[in-house]
Amino acid sequence: MSIAITTQIICFSVLSLVILIGALGVVLLESIVYSAFLLGGVFMSVAGLYLLLNASFVAAAQVLVYVGAVNVLIIFAIMLVNKKEDLKPISDIKSRRIISTSICLTLLSLLIRVDLTNVWSLSSPQNSIGEESTIRIGEHLFSDYLLPFEVASVLLLMAMIGAIVLARRDVMSKDISTGLPVDQELIEKSSEPLLTNKN
């Protein structure tokens, strides 16, 4: 990394602030659409952190796959399922919140303690390969990681076929658990006006 240390620190602080605030927004905001767009911002900032860590190829892959594919997929899913509905209130929501928040805070303090107290055996930063990392990734992928690389291609094919099979349009005529007929009107969206009943 050739940029000065002050620039690095400024970039790191801005990026990590955007990541943490954006992630909090993703889980806390009321509107799911805002969450999806904030998630895109978090992915972009994580790509910036990868650039700061000399991983330019992974940063490019992050932008292409996460922002370009996963985030767009999530936004499409939100467009398909975004119906305003009144959620049924849960009786013990408060105790659930307290328990889950305390578990998360405990885990966070444990992780931070491990981060700070462990003695990391760092290598010297002089022999950083930097720009050549892309070449090195290619060498890894076609020599010692060849089998996982091929298995990943099979996995992607399986995921594609599985997604097509699962998201196909033929639905069951009856609800599995209740036995009631499924409302077919909601499946054929053409008959439903899009903007009128959105109170």
């Binding site: 240390i5 994580v46 889950s100």
Partner: protein
């Protein structure tokens, strides 16, 4: 152990720990199923930050952490596609995305 020529490794690790815990909180507390999938993506990103950090600080000659991150990104893309397809077919049959009403496999 800290050298002043670069950002300490602990800073990156703390950011990734906080991101992971935010992801877990969202996973446990969301009622919208799409938001659960988003929280899983946040947790996967925290893991990726950890892998890249160790690849850059601990072994920066053999960058195996970056190769692992490529695989994690691949699996995360597959997971998102299948998860959202499952969500769509659930929505077709249940007409809701509320996590509390998905109790088909409950004993």
């Amino acid at each position: 152990m800290m050298n002043l020529e670069s950002i300490p490794i602990q800073a990156f690790l703390i950011v990734s720990s906080a991101l992971f815990c935010i992801g877990i909180w969202g996973l446990l507390n969301s009622r919208n199923a799409v938001r659960v999938l988003m929280s899983i993506e946040l947790m996967l990103n925290a893991v990726n930050i950890n892998l890249i950090t160790f690849s850059s600080y601990v072994d920066n000659n053999l960058i195996q952490g970056q190769v692992f991150t490529i695989f994690v990104i691949t699996v995360a893309a597959a997971e998102a596609a299948v998860g959202l397809a499952i969500l769509l077919s659930l929505y077709r049959n249940r007409v809701t995305v509320d996590m509390e009403s998905f109790n088909l496999l409950k004993w």
